[in-house]
Symmetry: C2
Subunit: 197 residues, 2 copies
DNA sequence: TCAAAAGTGTTTCGAATACACCCATGT
DNA sequence: ACATGGGTGTATTCGAAACACTTTTGA
């Protein structure tokens, strides 16, 4: 069921690019449908992926692909991988764009909620951030930054240590399950808006 | 030359949403073309606006408009207003989206270069930022933030004061004429990346 | 008793803001 | 002189990072 080599110039594909963390890696998946006549973008996207399993969705980019087809890509964040590996160069480029978008948003939004399980330890959350950002993150500072911003909440209970021992880890969850800006404007804030918390 | 009430479901419009500062206001302009068969998005955009007059262009959003037409919008930043007033609700929504995008990018990129003249005083630049951000900005702090980040450069010469006197203002220009991230990641920076400047 | 993992206390650092004060010009 | 707009010096604030140290478990 491959795509035609030269696409119909009137076709419009909706491409879901899904990212999830698996084994300390950012696992990409791609799913594509052709938008039917009169169909909304959201409806087409819903045919491409089970949107209910995505913690967050946002539009990524629209491009004319190498075969001439028009494609509108969406970024989806999930807790488990979804979709097929990328096939075309266009799809690989879209995945790069999706990674970049996620990387940027992780640092100034609560986007992590869409990748992490319902409750988790700081170490587990750290693995998610390391996988998505591509560089090391200190669990200590991660915890402090996200708690101060009110992104994380303590949850009752502790996780029992593994075979090798260690102190039991506290459990946390994200305070919100929708994307929120948590660090608006690093500079040039409106006057008199100095952290009134 | 209005648009058909119910658009051809195979048509694809490319819409340029141009923002410029005029009289202390963010003046929006809209220009639209239908993308021809096989035409690239960039080529269609170039038919919609004179891209050479835009300091910066980026894709904004693709949506199915109320009349059923598919439209891909671009945000353009210019020094002078360009294009017609918005006509449809869709176009007004796109302008809101463009304003939001600009507002966000102004604070962590050098996007101001695309709105400001070649050289300018800090007071003039402040007016641009106030118009784009919608809230007051201190000229003192604006200057320091942008100079420290290396976004602005001093330029020889001074601007003569007006009729009411006052100290002559120094002239500045933007160091780069392409969009650059100047404040990457407010938090969660890679370890050991503490401003090595 | 020791190793391992988790978490807190505390220091350091730097960017951004706020505000007082000095500078240069026209009237 | 003095009003006006421009600019610098400096103090304060605050978030983030770094790092030492304590806590809690399994072996």
């Amino acid at each position: 069921v491959g795509r035609k080599l030269v696409a119909d110039s009137t076709s419009h594909a909706v491409v879901a690019v899904v990212l999830a963390v698996e084994d300390g890696r950012l696992a990409p998946g791609v799913s594509r449908v052709d938008r039917g006549p009169g169909e909304s973008l959201e409806a087409a996207l819903a045919r491409a992926v089970d949107v209910g399993t995505l913690g967050h969705v946002e539009q990524l980019e629209t491009r004319v692909e190498r075969d001439g087809a028009l494609a509108t890509a969406y970024l989806g964040l999930a807790r488990a991988p979804w979709g097929a590996p990328p096939q075309t160069d266009d799809e690989r480029e879209l995945i790069d764009a999706a990674r970049g978008r996620l990387r940027a948003k992780l640092s100034y939004t609560n986007a992590g909620f869409a990748l992490a399980p319902e409750t988790f330890t700081i170490s587990e959350l750290r693995e998610v951030y390391v996988a998505a950002l591509g560089y090391d993150v200190s669990a200590t500072n991660l915890q402090r930054v996200l708690l101060r911003r009110g992104v994380l909440e303590r949850v009752d209970g502790r996780r029992a240590p593994g075979r090798t021992g260690g102190r039991p880890a506290a459990l946390f969850r994200f305070a919100a399950r929708r994307l929120e800006i948590t660090d608006e404007f690093a500079a040039l804030r409106p006057p008199g808006s100095r952290a009134s918390a």
